[in-house]
């Protein structure tokens, strides 16, 4: 592979970061792009543990959140003491903060792997979340701590008041972090992380302390989570207890797993999709959390490799030019899939309306422009019927997909 072809994806990524706000110009879109960029860094930092080293953490928000608080305190300190540190350097403070806390907590938690590590991470997460409501001086209680980013010294004339300026600051940091985290996977240490994930015992017998590998990975992951936390502090100008809580830890786990922990780009996909859904779904339905739970269950059950795993499943067929053979069966399957999805959403929304809203607003509800009655048998019968028809249709179509894959496998040259 030439250096040009190696650099090309990174160049495209940089161009994408630069041009997206030119295409998606609304304030909402730019806010969303900023959030996505932050979450990409956070999810990739998490995948240094889950995907690269095989460590399932339930408390990664600790490093994101604590570093975010450090960053927001640092911003206030810089303003109060009139220090000459401009805003673009605040993520470094967050990164060092994340590294520090990962060093302290990782010293304890990485002594063991597997379930023990997961349980310690859960305990530490709960410990910090509980502390956030007790140590009001640092965490600011339920209100959190606020800062004004525009009060920091300007950077080449930029005060970072408009969201677009903040977006570009976040995008540049996100780009640097993505490149660094990718580069890390291509180092001797990155490879040994994979080896420890695969077979820790064998890794020990080739000279590596698996505990040391886990600890270093944990610290580096904490650094990048800290950068993400600081970027969030800059973006929102507020940090509160939620940022260190279990929901935030669960969210990054969902992004990484749904995106695909087995591939470097998996968490990027996951962060983009989940952030989009988090922002849009919460405006559309009160049952939005339920959808995330269902999404997670569906990914675990039907695509354990996540979205990236599903995409990469098609890579050999694409290389062999056989992807077209799969298209008709996929197109056919999309019809019952859409039916079952529509039916499932209708069941959830009807149930949500009946259980939560009907008592105050009455049983009349709107669903994709349809006027429905959540108390009506007809509504329920329609919802269940659509879902059942979709599932039955999928079962009927499944052999077609299976046959198409069989044909692709037969037609593919060996090794392709």
């Amino acid at each position: 592979m030439t250096s040009v072809s190696r650099a090309l994806p990174w160049l495209l990524l940089a161009v994408l970061f630069a041009l997206l706000p030119k295409v998606l110009t609304s304030n909402t879109a730019i806010t969303m792009l900023s959030m996505m960029s932050i979450m990409i860094v956070f999810a990739l930092s998490y995948n240094m543990l889950l995907g690269q080293t095989g460590l399932l953490s339930f408390g990664h928000a600790v490093y994101y959140g604590l570093a975010g608080f450090l960053a927001i305190h640092a911003m206030n300190y810089i303003v109060r003491n009139k220090l000459g540190i401009p805003l673009p350097f605040v993520p470094i403070i967050g990164g060092i903060g994340g590294l520090f806390f990962a060093f302290v907590f990782g010293w304890v938690s990485t002594k063991r792997a597997g379930t023990v590590f997961s349980m310690i991470s859960l305990g530490l997460g709960e410990l910090v979340a509980a502390s956030s409501l007790i140590l009001r001086g640092f965490f600011g209680g339920e209100e959190g701590i606020t800062a004004n980013r525009t009060k920091l010294p300007s950077f080449f004339g930029y005060k970072f008041g408009p969201q677009i300026e903040v977006y570009y600051l976040i995008a540049i940091w996100a780009f640097i972090c993505i490149v660094l985290m990718y580069a890390l996977t291509r180092t001797p240490f990155g490879r040994m992380c994979n080896a420890v994930r695969e077979n820790p015992e064998r890794a020990e017998f080739v000279g590596y302390s698996t505990q040391r590998v886990r600890f270093i990975a944990f610290c580096l992951s904490g650094f990048f989570a800290g950068v993400a936390g600081a970027l969030a502090a800059i973006n929102f100008e507020i940090m509160n207890a939620q940022s260190v809580g279990a929901a935030q830890s669960g969210s990054v786990l969902l992004m990484t797993y749904a995106g695909g922990a087995g591939y470097f780009f998996g968490p990027i996909i996951g962060a983009i999709i989940i952030t989009y859904l988090q922002i849009t779904l919460s405006d559309v339905t009160g049952a939005w959390m339920l959808y995330f739970g269902l999404l997670f269950i569906l990914v675990v059950m039907f695509s354990p490799g996540g979205i990236a795993g599903w995409i990469m499943l098609h890579a050999p067929a694409a290389r062999a030019g056989q992807l077209g053979r799969l298209a008709p069966s996929y197109a056919l399957a999309s019809i019952p899939m859409a039916l079952s999805l529509f039916g499932a959403i209708m069941i959830i929304e009807t149930a949500h309306h009946q259980l939560v809203k009907a008592a105050s607003d009455g049983p009349a509800m709107h669903f994709f422009g349809l006027a429905l009655n959540s108390n009506s048998v007809l509504t329920w019968a329609m919802a269940v019927g659509l879902f059942a028809a979709g599932v039955i249709g999928l079962r009927l179509v499944w052999p077609r997909i299976s046959d198409a894959w069989g044909a692709v496998s037969l037609a593919r040259p060996k090794g392709a």
Partner: protein, 250 residues
């Protein structure tokens, strides 16, 4: 005299069960030493003790004159002792090349390096490719190790064991489960890759043992009942009664 490996009165108990009961064994540098004995004699446990997977209850183990009992496996590995396992122990989802590349890194001094790209490390690439050539898996370079045939996986494990340049190598039943032709192939491979090194192997295939070993120790119920040249072991009445009679007749 400094031995490559020296065990002095090594004991290992699990609760009330004594598995290793006072093993004393000296292996000279460059020697090919086989440990034989019936199932449950403690052969694999002895390997686990030597390689640091478990610690002895009492006694001492020295590698090239320096005590290694109580050290962790990676510390022992860094001191020049490597091993294979009775059940194939590789990095199953990494490619053949990646398995070997990970196994040579420490010995080439790259340790926990996260500041330089692995692709540019010429010595790592050359050593990995040389190993791949030695174990005959060059054509399988990019295959996932877990998808290789059993014999290929065993060969890869031997490759991993020798990758770090250890001068004492323990092979735990390297021929187990192999066909006759695979055994011959594996035997030739072991001879080739352990040339000039100290080899200690546990093996049930007596034709292999008597073919390879300079010296054989017989372990029965956690004790070495004889340790001698193959011809002497074959004539040893106690050995014949305890093990060899059954093993050769089998």
């Amino acid at each position: 005299m400094t031995y490559a490996l020296s065990l002095k009165d090594v004991h290992k108990s699990f609760g009330p069960a004594q598995i290793i009961r006072g093993v004393t064994l000296d292996v000279k540098a460059g020697e090919r030493h086989a440990i034989i004995g019936p199932n449950g004699a403690g052969k694999s446990t002895l390997f686990h003790l030597i390689s640091g997977r478990i610690t002895p209850t009492s006694g001492s183990i020295a590698l090239n004159g320096a005590r290694i009992d109580g050290l962790k496996p990676f510390e022992i590995s860094r001191r020049g002792l490597s091993r294979s396992f009775q059940v194939t122990n590789i990095f199953p989802r990494l490619s053949v090349y990646e398995n070997l590349r990970c196994s040579v890194l420490w010995s080439l001094g790259y340790k926990y390096s996260f500041w330089r790209g692995i692709e540019g490390l010429r010595d790592v690439r050359e050593r990995s490719e040389q190993l791949m050539e030695q174990i005959g898996l060059t054509s399988r370079r990019d295959e996932q190790a877990g998808t290789l045939t059993y014999a290929e996986q065993r060969a890869l494990e031997i490759g991993i064991a020798i990758a770090g340049g250890a001068d004492v190598i323990l092979l735990d039943e390297p021929m187990a489960g192999m066909s006759h032709s695979e055994t011959e192939h594996a035997l030739a491979l072991i001879r080739k890759v352990t040339e000039g090194k100290t080899l200690i192997m546990v093996e049930h295939d007596m034709s292999v043992v008597f073919n390879v070993a300079d010296r054989i120790s017989v372990l029965v119920y956690g004790q070495i009942i004889a340790s001698d040249a193959p011809s002497a072991i074959r004539q040893n009445a106690a050995v014949r009664e305890a093990y060899l009679g059954q093993a050769e007749g089998a």
